[in-house]
């Protein structure tokens, strides 16, 4: 877009909106490529590690949650802080260990490392939420009522609580997605994965404004869409939401 020819800010604004509709976000200053293709490539690359990490964290988190929830108390463990440690620390450790064991971390295995590192904190969140809900469930009146009525523990969990847990899972799904998106750079930079985080931060360091603005617009749209979908599903399954 040639800004020198435009005099009115409104004209420029309308032009930007028109370009946005046609997905024309301009060209990256550093690479010269269209911003939209840079974003597409970045998301495709990040998806390889972020999506499996999300799935992994929900699976392992649930299994851990069941194990913790079965305990009579759900106190904070003094080793819980490990889960809060920034992922950059884990990235460094994994990178160093991979080198020590002679693993070629430039190969496809880097995605496996990235998945594990990205899944650490979300796993903790899921397991914590599951165990808390599990404990509140087994102490609830309706659970006791059904046990007294002759239902087995398994059948109560299966028949009555699936929806309850699904609602709880949806509650922090977006937060986990934001967390993964926000901190993915700290896994991508050490492992040289040219994903969305890596491209965004490189754009910042090179003052590549079209790329920065493009990433901001796309991420805002993406999170808004995720939010709408989550709210829609929540409304469908949660009878308390009007």
């Amino acid at each position: 877009m040639d800004v020198s020819q435009k005099t009115s800010i409104w004209e420029l604004y309308i032009q930007v909106l028109q370009n946005l509709i046609t997905l024309d976000l301009g060209n990256s200053i550093s690479s010269g490529q269209p911003v939209i293709s840079e974003i597409k490539n970045g998301f495709a690359e990040s998806f390889k590690s972020a999506f499996p990490a999300l799935i992994l964290s929900y699976i392992i988190g649930t299994l851990l949650g069941v194990k913790i929830g079965k305990r009579s108390t759900n106190k904070n463990n003094k080793y819980d802080f490990i889960f809060y440690v920034p992922m950059i620390v884990f990235s460094y450790l994994f990178l160093f260990m991979a080198d020590k064991f002679g693993i070629d971390f430039t190969s496809e295995i880097k995605y496996v490392f990235a998945i594990i590192i990205l899944a650490i904190y979300p796993t903790f969140i899921v397991s914590k939420s599951f165990s808390t809900n599990y404990q509140s469930l087994i102490t609830s009146d309706y659970y006791r009522f059904h046990i007294a009525s002759g239902f087995s523990k398994k059948s109560i969990l299966k028949k009555f609580t699936t929806k309850y847990f699904a609602i709880e899972y949806l509650a922090f799904f977006e937060n986990i997605a934001i967390y993964l998106f926000g901190f993915i750079y700290f896994v991508e930079a050490p492992f040289a994965i040219h994903g969305v985080g890596y491209k965004f931060v490189t754009g910042i360091q090179r003052f590549d404004y079209p790329l920065i603005i493009g990433f901001c617009i796309v991420s805002i749209i993406l999170f808004s869409v995720i939010n709408i979908i989550v709210d829609f599903i929540k409304q469908r399954i949660d009878t308390r939401v009007i």
């Binding site: 950059i88 926000g182 965004f200 991420s219």
Partner: protein, 257 residues
């Protein structure tokens, strides 16, 4: 109280060690100290410029604690202030606008917002602390607002209203003290997030600038020497682990009290 005594004792012993190191150990003469591995003269080794990593780590640790304290104090006060204002606001449209704004801010990646703001306003310690604070305040205010909303139907508040107390008096002397314990827990629970974000901003070079050092920047510098000078990244990693361990244990201790 016992925990506080432990902290003071630890700080005192730590200060003695640093003083011994600074006045006696560093005075031992040595030749070229660039990228020297940990030894008696340099306990944590040196970096590419020959700077002592132990002293750098102490400085970085100090800045980390300082940032944490500043951010915690500001978000605590401003969070309560904004949350209370939103709660008592009679102008419905403004209240809705404020709530929508907070909700919208809460759904965006805070780190990206902070980075974006730092590009606009420029990097630096003060700017990074300010932007970190600004990015966290909306969720703090939202927490206060939600807590106040859920507490408004408590029986003791209805009783206070029936005595004829004004809304401001009830808020100041009854509602805020009522939610304070939960609010403190929530603010303490944000410590890992604050450290993580500060680390991230410093790692990207948007926080503390040279000649001062930060844990994030030390980690960034360590990446180039991942395999040739392990002490450059292992030391900051260990400090971060210790910091998290201490802070979270104290946060849990406070919550369980």
């Amino acid at each position: 109280m016992r925990k506080l005594r432990h902290i003071l004792l630890f700080a005192f012993l730590f200060a003695i060690i640093v003083a011994i190191y600074y006045f006696f150990i560093l005075s031992i003469p040595q030749g070229n100290a660039s990228l020297s591995s940990p030894e008696l003269r340099h306990w944590f080794g040196t970096d590419i410029n020959g700077t002592d990593v132990f002293m750098k780590s102490i400085e970085a640790f100090g800045f980390e604690i300082l940032t944490l304290l500043i951010v915690l104090v500001i978000i605590w006060f401003v969070g309560i202030l904004f949350g209370s204002i939103t709660y008592v606001l009679n102008w419905r449209a403004l209240q809705e606008f404020f709530l929508n704004f907070i909700h919208y801010m809460a759904t965006l990646p805070i780190l990206l917002i902070a980075m974006f703001l730092l590009i606009i306003f420029g990097a630096g310690f003060i700017n990074s602390v300010l932007i970190l604070t600004i990015s966290i305040i909306p969720t703090q205010a939202l927490f206060v607002y939600n807590q106040l909303q859920s507490a408004r139907n408590e029986e003791f508040l209805i009783a206070k209203k029936s005595y004829g107390l004004s809304n401001t008096t009830i808020l100041r002397f009854h509602l805020i003290p009522f939610i304070l314990k939960k609010y403190n827990n929530y603010t303490f629970a944000r410590i890992p997030e604050i450290i993580m974000m500060n680390l991230a901003l410093n790692f990207l070079g948007l926080g503390i600038k040279e000649p001062y050092s930060s844990l994030g920047r030390m980690l960034f510098d360590g990446l180039s020497f991942m395999f040739s000078a392990w002490w450059l990244w292992v030391i900051p990693c260990l400090i971060i682990l210790i910091l998290y361990s201490i802070i979270l244990n104290y946060a849990v201790h406070y919550r369980n009290k």
